[in-house]
């Protein structure tokens, strides 16, 4: 039972990270109608920028994540302007190819600046808590709390603030939103910036537990795509439920079956969902 609670908390912490990463991806899909294959690379870059502020410049941990998130927001906006905006009227294969190009660019950039070796990020948050006999590291508690706070803020932003509501409007109907005076280009920039920002928070939170490497985004890429396909492309609640579901499934299978199965869970979910309903479990039929 202790092991179970321990793993449950590990799963929740991982789920928080997955949620933050997946929500950005699903927002981008909702607004730009493209799967941003470079999302994992943005996550990786976010981790390294956090590392830079924390280890090289000595900024406090949470502040380092915040600054890195703002830096990546700018990177995301730049990505939309330079890559996806010029391709908005191209066939769908083209922006996916361009996204792959951006992904390789970011990876080699990180490799040139920080080297190909694994790096460890030290966090000032140490110690652990005892909950129901299980020992939970404080870092994981911080991840869970931060994730919940960020998710709440994001929900407030999208549902209540005027800029957030434009995102939802564009998701529902691009032409209609443009007719009532919303600028689709601005919203696209905002969305990609926001998705990069969320990915950075996720990466900054999880980096002290995992190691940093230029290819750390590859595995995450597969997982977040599995999550948003499970939850339905473009669906926010779907991304949240899918994120926690996948993370808990992953930690539980790693503990009780084997770590190899744990790693394969995302893939199994992906294949199963696509085999049962090729357009995702919770998506409405879309006429193209």
């Amino acid at each position: 039972m202790t092991l179970f609670i321990q793993q449950l908390f590990n799963g929740l912490a991982l789920g928080g990270v997955y949620c933050l990463a997946a929500i950005g991806l699903t927002l981008v899909f909702g607004v730009l109608r493209i799967p941003n294959l470079a999302h994992g690379a943005l996550y990786m870059l976010g981790a390294y920028v956090t590392y830079f502020f924390l280890a090289t410049l000595g900024v406090p941990y949470l502040a380092a994540i915040g600054i890195a998130a703002l830096v990546l927001f700018v990177v995301g906006v730049g990505l939309e302007r330079l890559v996806f905006h010029p391709l908005r009227n191209s066939p769908h294969t083209h922006h996916m190819i361009a996204a792959v190009g951006a992904m390789f660019f970011f990876q080699s950039l990180a490799q040139v600046i920080w080297g190909a070796d694994f790096r460890r990020m030290d966090t000032p948050i140490t110690g652990s808590l005892h909950i129901l006999g299980a020992e939970i590291s404080a870092q994981r508690i911080v991840i869970i709390i931060t994730a919940v706070v960020v998710l709440a803020l994001l929900t407030w932003f999208i549902k209540r603030s005027i800029h957030g509501q434009t995102i939802e409007a564009i998701e529902q109907d691009r032409t209609g939103a443009a007719l009532v005076g919303i600028n689709p280009s601005m919203v696209s920039m905002l969305t990609l910036g926001l998705s990069a920002l969320l990915a950075t928070i996720a990466a900054g939170l999880v980096s002290p537990i995992n190691l940093l490497s230029p290819t750390m985004g590859d595995a995450l890429n597969l997982k977040v795509f599995a999550i948003i396909i499970l939850g339905g492309l473009g669906s926010l609640p779907g991304a949240i439920i899918g994120g926690f579901a996948l993370a808990i499934a992953e930690t539980m299978t790693s503990t009780y079956i084997s770590s190899a199965v744990g790693e394969a869970v995302a893939f199994i979910v992906l294949v199963a969902v696509l085999a049962i309903r090729p357009t995702g479990l919770f998506t409405k039929a879309v006429q193209r």
Binding site: I34, I97, G101, F104, A275
Partner: protein, 346 residues
């Protein structure tokens, strides 16, 4: 022989003749021959990508994985299990066909984004299996001393020129298959799917089956390319199956031109030599190549052959217009005048 009058076919033939003559120019320089031959191996895999991406319009990100399956089947069987090259190669082709067909069972149900994501997952899983399953694949130590093809005393395939011609002949078959597909009803079926899946479905095209077969065919081409690559290079590591490989293939096909017959070959040759040129900056090369691929997609999505083809089309159209004009004039200017007058009298 009307096929020979088409400038496109003449260009493709000229290209093949130039490549066939490469050993005459570089026969003594083993290094250059090896670069060209590995480029041809990649070109075979790129022809596979051409079928699924160029003709059918579905982005498959698993091609590097299939290339890796081909390479590792040949590599492991000829070293650890001491099979002959040909039997291992045959199994590599069958193996990729089976994997491609089975994954196609699910791929055929997906479309557009979902297809790309699904194939990305397949490619990643193949890479993970190869790089982690140490007991079988030796993981990061890779496979050394992959056998050359055997041919009794007839041909010695350890000679780079002989190996070059073997790969070249197999490439010729792939080029011909691509040409045949493009001309046949199959090709038109695939192009219909590329244009609009809903439309294709509405006019009775079996979209799912066509996509599945196109995907399996592209996988087989990938396996063939990989199998030959293992033997040409002699050493393979998990890199042979990585996502980077898929990206390289994407770059080849983009530079050459998607959906064309000669494009994959031209692209592979040019970019392979570019890669060699950049080899000293291994880590930096994607810093340059990433933006290049983005620029290509934005500014020149048709590739070299696509633009040459567009040029040929424009010239033909101009000639046709000129011809109709001259026949009109020959018929005399009175005819159009009459119609106008009759309209006026009305």
């Amino acid at each position: 022989m009307s096929a020979l009058k088409n400038p496109r076919n003449i260009g493709t033939l000229a290209l093949l003749v130039i490549i066939a003559a490469a050993p005459l120019a570089f026969g003594d320089e083993n290094y250059i021959m090896r670069v060209i031959t590995t480029g041809l191996c990649a070109a075979i895999a790129v022809y596979g990508m051409n079928i699924i991406l160029g003709f059918t319009g579905q982005l498959s990100l698993a091609q590097g994985g299939f290339f890796g399956i081909g390479a590792y089947t040949v590599g492991l069987l000829t070293t650890d299990y001491d099979w002959s090259f040909w039997s291992a190669f045959a199994l590599a082709v069958i193996g990729t066909a089976v994997v491609g067909y089975l994954s196609g069972l699910i791929a055929l149900r997906t479309r557009d984004e979902y297809f790309a994501i699904f194939t990305m997952a397949i490619g990643f899983i193949i890479y993970l299996t190869i790089s982690r399953w140490e007991a079988v694949t030796h993981a990061h130590s890779g496979v050394n001393n992959v056998k050359f093809p055997e041919a009794g005393d007839l041909i010695d395939f350890s000679d780079p020129t002989a190996m070059f011609y073997l790969v070249f002949v197999i490439l010729l078959v792939c080029v011909y298959i691509t040409y045949a597909i493009r001309r046949s009803g199959v090709g038109r079926t695939l192009l219909t799917i590329r244009t609009s899946e809903d439309l294709a479905d509405a006019i009775g095209v079996k979209v799912g089956l066509s996509k599945q077969l196109a995907f399996a065919a592209s996988a087989v081409f990938g396996g063939i390319g990989g199998g030959l690559y293992a033997s040409v290079v002699g050493f393979i590591g998990p890199d042979a199956a990585s996502v980077d490989k898929t990206f390289e293939f994407l770059m080849f096909i983009l530079v050459g031109g998607m959906g064309t017959v000669a494009g994959p070959l031209i692209g592979s040759m040019i970019v392979t030599f570019l890669f060699e040129f950049f080899q000293d900056f291994q880590a930096y090369r994607f810093i340059v190549l990433g933006p290049i691929i983005i620029a290509l997609v934005i500014f020149a999505p048709r590739g070299i052959v696509g633009y040459l083809g567009g040029f040929v089309d424009r010239r033909n159209r101009r000639r046709r217009i000129a011809e109709t004009r001259s026949t009109d004039e020959a018929r005399g200017a009175a005819e159009p005048m009459e119609t106008t007058t009759s309209e006026e009298t009305k």
